[in-house]
């Protein structure tokens, strides 16, 4: 049933925007919904010209996908109210669902819709949150994600991330056997994938600017690894690092003015900081024997975590953005790389090697405790959701690269299935302001 429903939505979204349907991801929850909170999402009422998006279905799917909520099956909904006056709270209490979402969509003209929603606490018969919007037809899906964010935040007290986006790289083998690479951006549910860069050469390490307006990434289009910055709205792109040797692993500073990146122009991979406005470079690491790469910024903007094999094997270190002595952070396991930091700065996720296999692990930076969250042994490249609840990562299924997500407590697992394309290098966008 769920699969069929997802397929239907998927098909619908492709019909709406067929020219964008390049590599649709389908999100499947693969485990861990036992403790989910029941919620009643009543299909929204419709007035006038039918909306091209099923708003309540998008909201319901978002909530279910988070693993935190269990929307009641449609056949269990005892009535179909669309506003407070139509709700008999006594009836709804029997369903043991604490939250009740109702709403309606009315067409203002062919292009514009008015959407209203109300979330009720069933036991106290009280409205928790309710709003009305007017949006163009093309904005309906995004609005649905924003409403889901508000419901999530109201009921859990944490920021919702349904209206964020994902960036990832796809690789397709053409009939001639040659690979074609694409950098894509989709909604957080995998819908509306949009190719922002295509290349015959590999693309790596996408990373979002803090305002979500730009991406930086590594492209081999000139025969070697070089760093680019691309503006999402205009498609305008600039080469920002094309020095001799490697130019790679770019990471945006929290204030958006600088990139930390790896350059080997000195003859060895070192971490540098590039000031975007001036092009001024400052060198952070000075260990000419070791690989130093994959810098990420601590939320304070003053320190970096990075991968280094200065101790013999790759491990994670912390260093001041001004340079100076680096301090080792990861101690468990023979291989730790690709760090990412939760927005509160308390958790680090990384690719954790154990007996030749690779898992996604999370380390409490305050206590040092490490928890391994995944199982396949071919997991890599973790990226925190901007609320720190979920970690998106790359894994393999039947020899093909796919994306998956796991909650930071390891309880909720999702797989982002995809239609025949190799998918890798995920990066979760920041929350749109």
């Amino acid at each position: 049933m769920t699969k069929r429903w997802l397929a239907a939505i998927w098909l619908l979204s492709m019909m709406v925007v067929p020219w964008q349907a390049h590599a649709e991801l389908i999100i499947e929850i693969t485990g861990g919904t036992e403790a989910a909170l029941p919620i009643a999402v009543v299909p929204f009422g419709s007035e006038g010209i039918a909306a091209p998006e099923d708003i309540s279905a998008v909201i319901s799917n978002d909530l279910a996908r988070s693993g935190r909520f269990a929307p009641l099956p449609k056949q269990d909904l005892i009535s179909q109210p669309h506003e407070k006056e139509e709700i008999n709270f006594r009836d709804w209490r029997l369903l043991r669902s604490e939250g009740l979402l109702v709403g309606k969509v009315s067409s203002v003209d062919g292009e514009t819709y008015q959407v209203q929603f109300q979330l009720f606490d069933v036991y106290n018969a009280q409205q928790l949150v309710g709003k009305r919007y007017q949006v163009p037809a093309s904005g309906l899906r995004r609005l649905a994600h924003q409403i889901a964010d508000q419901i999530y935040q109201t009921l859990t007290g944490e920021m919702g991330v349904f209206s964020t986006r994902l960036a990832f790289v796809t690789a397709i083998a053409n009939a001639d056997g040659k690979k074609r690479f694409a950098l894509q951006v989709s909604d957080s549910d995998g819908a509306n994938p949009r190719t922002v860069l295509q290349s015959k050469q590999p693309i790596l390490s996408p990373n979002w600017s803090p305002d979500g307006e730009r991406l930086t990434y590594v492209s081999f289009e000139n025969g070697k690894a070089e760093v680019f910055v691309q503006e999402m709205s205009s498609g305008r792109r600039d080469s920002v690092a094309a020095f001799k040797g490697l130019n790679s692993a770019p990471a945006w500073s929290p204030d958006g003015t600088r990139l930390a990146l790896t350059l080997s122009k000195s003859g060895n991979p070192e971490i540098y900081i590039l000031e975007l406005a001036t092009g001024k470079l400052s060198r952070v690491t000075h260990n000419s024997q070791a690989i130093d790469t994959e810098a990420v910024w601590m939320p304070n903007g003053r320190e970096l975590l990075f991968t280094s094999d200065r101790g013999g094997r790759p491990q994670i270190y912390k260093v001041s953005a001004e340079g100076g002595r680096a301090k080792r952070v990861s101690f468990e396991g023979s291989y730790n790389a690709s760090p990412d930091i939760s927005s509160d700065g308390h958790f680090m996720t990384m690719t954790h090697g154990l007996n030749g296999k690779f898992y996604i692990a999370v380390q409490d930076l305050d206590t040092g405790a490490v928890q391994i969250l995944t199982e396949t042994g071919r997991d890599e490249s973790p990226s925190f959701a901007p609320n720190g609840r979920m970690i998106l990562y790359a894994t393999e299924q039947q020899g093909k690269g796919v994306l998956a997500a796991v909650s930071v407590d390891g309880r909720i697992h999702q797989r982002l299935g995809e239609s025949g394309t190799e998918v890798r290098e995920p990066a979760w966008s920041p929350i749109r302001k």
Partner: protein, 192 residues
């Protein structure tokens, strides 16, 4: 389920028609043709002379292997250690194996005698672990080869070093037999 299958078919059709028109950066990247992935530098007249055509009459490049006399540039002699253009590595290692020393010494000697020759060293890794770390590891492997070639008489100016990390596997599999073919440095004479 039928709907699901139908949508897959639909998707593929749409994708096929869509992929010719997609991509903001298409214009830029199309310039990087397959040939350009080896960003060959302008060849000087000098380096062109190492080609077989010009070299056949040059006594210095005639090699005698066993009883066969190979007439031509020794670079093109299949029996010469110079015909070996790939060096393989152990997992997460850039240490050059003993058995590759002869090959490398021969290349170094050739380069030392032909100072106008340039070589591109392209480092690669297997797919395991971090892509960015592997990019750096591929470069380190290429640098290790360059170091040995320089110790045996080649000059630093004769090299271009590049790494593709795990992005260009020679074998597509996901097991040790594929991995060991992928942990390699390719030695490419520019212009050959």
């Amino acid at each position: 389920m039928k709907l699901f299958k139908l949508s897959v078919v639909l998707f593929i059709l749409m994708w096929l028609s869509a992929c010719t028109t997609l991509g903001l950066g298409k214009k830029d990247t199309d310039a990087a043709t397959d040939g350009a992935e080896v960003a060959v530098e302008d060849r000087s007249a000098d380096s062109a002379s190492i080609g077989g055509d010009n070299a056949s009459g040059d006594a210095e490049t005639t090699v005698i292997v066993g009883e066969d006399q190979y007439q031509g540039d020794e670079l093109n002699d299949p029996a010469s250690p110079l015909s070996n253009r790939v060096v393989y590595f152990e997992y997460d290692s850039s240490a050059v194996r003993q058995e590759d020393q002869t090959t490398l010494a021969a290349h170094a000697a050739y380069m030392g005698e032909h100072q106008n020759v340039t070589m591109r060293l392209i480092g690669h890794t297997d797919e395991r672990g971090s892509r960015e770390y592997n990019l750096a590891l591929g470069e380190r492997r290429a640098m290790a080869i360059r170091q040995i070639l320089m110790l045996h008489g080649a000059d630093i100016k004769q090299f271009q070093v590049t790494s593709f990390g795990e992005e260009r596997p020679q074998a597509e599999g996901h097991d040790e037999s594929a991995w060991q073919q992928n942990r390699r440095v390719e030695l490419i004479y520019v212009g050959q």
